[in-house]
Symmetry: D2
Subunit: 283 residues, 4 copies
């Protein structure tokens, strides 16, 4: 059996010793091990992949009692057990399409039981991949309607035992309440520029400013839409001859790549939130 254990706790001497001792007791052989202590928050995080012939329940008991510290959060799962992902979309297909494609060719080890949208345009993508698609419009009378929308999401999340919610160019803002309820489980993607731009038509602003680089950031969603811990970022160089439409096209390409990288890292338990930052153990 191939297992992934993760640990986050307050840092103190002896943690790695205790964890590796527990793994030894499980007859475990370590395949990968990564750890990091975040100095700002004094948080120790660790991700270990190991093989064992013991049963899961027994291993779980040993590992979960390895660290006595009350701050310790320990997770254990079989490496082959895929995380369940709910994808929220609106009209633009590039991020959804990339996730579906990578999953299909075995390069994104997630399960997507359903896709939810506030519009109907992308239902065909779900159909092509035999995935449930739910069209849940959010009406003008937004407050009420969004509350309904989020309640239906809650029901889907519970029913399908969703691990992660991916906002794949979902153009609605989720309520603070919802975001806090699923803190650390919602990933969003958005463009990033040097310098940054606020407000409408960011690519047009970037064009007017003559930027030579455009980028995208994938981040966890907290109450404030664009401000959660960053997971992944990337950029592309652009020249003076790129029109706003060219920038939008290049932006889409960066967005789908950065979002995929973030989701893949989540799928492999490589991301830890420490304060307002993330630790991402790259392979």
């Amino acid at each position: 059996m191939d297992l992934i254990v993760t640990l986050a706790c307050n840092d103190h001497p002896g943690i790695v010793f205790a964890m590796t001792n527990a793994i030894l007791q499980c007859d475990g052989n370590i395949i990968e091990n990564q750890q990091f202590t975040d100095p700002a928050t004094n948080t120790f995080v660790m991700r270990t992949r190991f093989e064992t012939i013991q049963e899961f329940a027994q291993v779980e008991k040993t590992m979960k009692s390895a660290i006595k510290d009350e701050s310790a959060v320990i997770t254990l799962r079989e490496y082959s057990q895929k995380k369940k992902v709910l994808v929220l979309v609106t009209k633009e297909s590039h991020c959804l399409q990339e996730l579906l494609y990578l999953q299909e060719i075995g390069e994104m080890e997630i399960e997507i039981p359903l896709i939810v949208s506030n519009r109907n345009e992308l239902s065909g993508h779900a159909t092509d991949h035999n995935i449930e698609f739910h069209y849940l419009p959010i009406s003008q009378n937004e407050g009420e309607s969004k509350a309904d929308f989020e309640n239906q999401l809650r029901a889907f999340i519970a029913k399908h035992e969703i691990d992660l919610i991916v906002l794949a160019r979902f153009m609605q803002i989720l309520s603070d309440e919802f975001c806090q309820e699923y803190a650390g489980r919602i990933i969003n993607i958005h463009h990033s520029f040097l310098p940054g731009f606020k407000g409408a038509k960011p690519y047009h602003q970037a064009y007017d400013r003559g930027v030579k680089i455009i980028g995208a950031s994938a981040h966890f969603v907290t109450g404030d839409l664009d401000e959660g811990p960053i997971i992944a970022q990337d950029v592309a160089h652009v020249s003076h001859s790129a029109t706003p439409d060219d920038l939008i096209m290049i932006g889409r390409d960066i967005e789908r790549r950065v979002l995929s990288r973030a989701v893949r890292n989540y799928a492999q338990d490589r991301i830890f939130i420490v304060g307002n930052r993330t630790v991402v153990f790259h392979d």
Copy 2:
């Protein structure tokens, strides 16, 4: 004779025809030719390198009268004639060092007749390269002192026929008046982050925010220090394990590369300012 002619003017049909006609009259053979029309400002810009056996004065007369349009700005110079650069520094050496080094090994075709600083720390770099160094302190009573400083700069610029002023980590803000006087002739370098940060200790802010990319921008200086037209930008990827000091170190590396690229493009007449943007004809 190997010549570079540049043209900026309002766009209208027939400009390329007129310019190439003029070059033909000069018995010129085009080696490189690049042009671009900026749609936002309707500005046509063109850079042509050509060889001719005619005399400079004769060619200049022909070329400068090629375009009748009053908006036309035409420059002509021998390719081998280097631009004169005044470098302003404070304490940090990385940008200055890079410019001096590239110049020395023949990869940066500029002349640096003098280096000016508001501090004395970097005088050794000037001495090593046999370059005049002027230490012009700017006292606490800043207004007056800075006016003096800028007046001395003006004198140096006139005396040495300086083409370009490079702020190579010069930690003082030049007056709006000075910046406007030398508009399009002052290049600055500064860090850039995704998202951007205002205020002190930007690398510490970037660290706290957990950015995965840090960058630098070289730009022309207008009145507002960081907001002139961008010439070049680049970034580096950083991970959670990079400390603020690591970010600063990586930032220095990007800064010197981006500044050098901008200065080299200036040295080769590749940069045109159109509105708040630049056109940069890459080789």
Copy 3:
């Protein structure tokens, strides 16, 4: 009418003048213009996009007689007229999928009238996009069978007026005769490593050698499969922890991006072959 004219000819003074003169006679207004003289072959190449209110036939007549030189090859087409592409595939979908996706969202201005494969696995991709799919097996008795295969390709190419043949991970070698017949019209994609590896299982060889970078090259196909003029290349950084399977996965990602870039440049008439090199006018 928005037109693209391209010219390739022996270099001599006055070409740009002659071309821009012809465009003026067409009442043309230049939108983009790029040119380059390849010193090794003394070949001048030029790509100009211009607008005119004259009729296509009249413009064509003027432009095609602009350069008297016998070496001149001039092409003219409407910007909106898409090139027709035949895609050849075998089993791997990543390159095909990317082309289809980009075309679908309007980021790849080509028409794909048909997909041909020596296997049947990817027929579903064609069906999903309402594209003809032809399964043409190449039997063990290869010589004869490949001749049949290529004859059927010739018929398809003629019938659909195909401009470009894209080998999107097509795992058969086309005959020298076929390649020469369609010289400059067949693009292939393959992995590239530093250093390079010959023979089977290149990713395993790269792994054994501990490379820190893997890459891909898109190139025109001449008789010798991997050795035609290079159009586009890119790389990704890899670490010691990447397994051969990881390298293959990363390789697929680079391949689809590099092939798309090459095909897009072809679609926009940006590529010229000069000797064994290409000139690619980037936007």
Copy 4:
């Protein structure tokens, strides 16, 4: 006291446990810890940085006996103790210059007690940094002369307790005997292309082939000059307009960056050789 311990040994269960147990016995607090098992050679490698108040000798005793396995190679040093580097150069200054500069501004934690060259051109760089420079010509009667040269190197290495020999564009080939004697302690830098080129004037070959990417590799030197384990690689994109001289200039820039990265990783004990590959623990 801030210490770095490294371990390389045959992989078996319990190694991390044993090492962290030993660190606990040293009253050590782990700051950084990285490990990897190379599947091809079944080699386990580990790098741990930890703080302790115990004395060095005592810690050394504990750590060096932590792993009983005969295959185990354990190193321990104070983090502040810099590695001693002998730099070999010929005529080109860019790599030497970069190392000296980075060392000077505190970004390369090495000591350079001496620079040795088979020519005299770069002695000024040594003088500027108050470093011993030895000009040891290698005459035409190469066999004898090179033996002398290498014997003098051996004497220098012994006298200055050199840890690492850096070939910073040293244009002579060291003997197999010498390379084997200092296996894992000699780093070289050379250009890399896609595809690779053998023989003279590689940049001209790359130009003729129309490559769109040029690169450099830093590697350990074994008997065969270019074929030791790769430590670091990087590339730059180039266009058709780059001349062979441009390629050479861009190549120099990549070379100095890649070599510096390799030397920095060596200085921080981040590199392990496993078979023909390296494990490099990036920070």
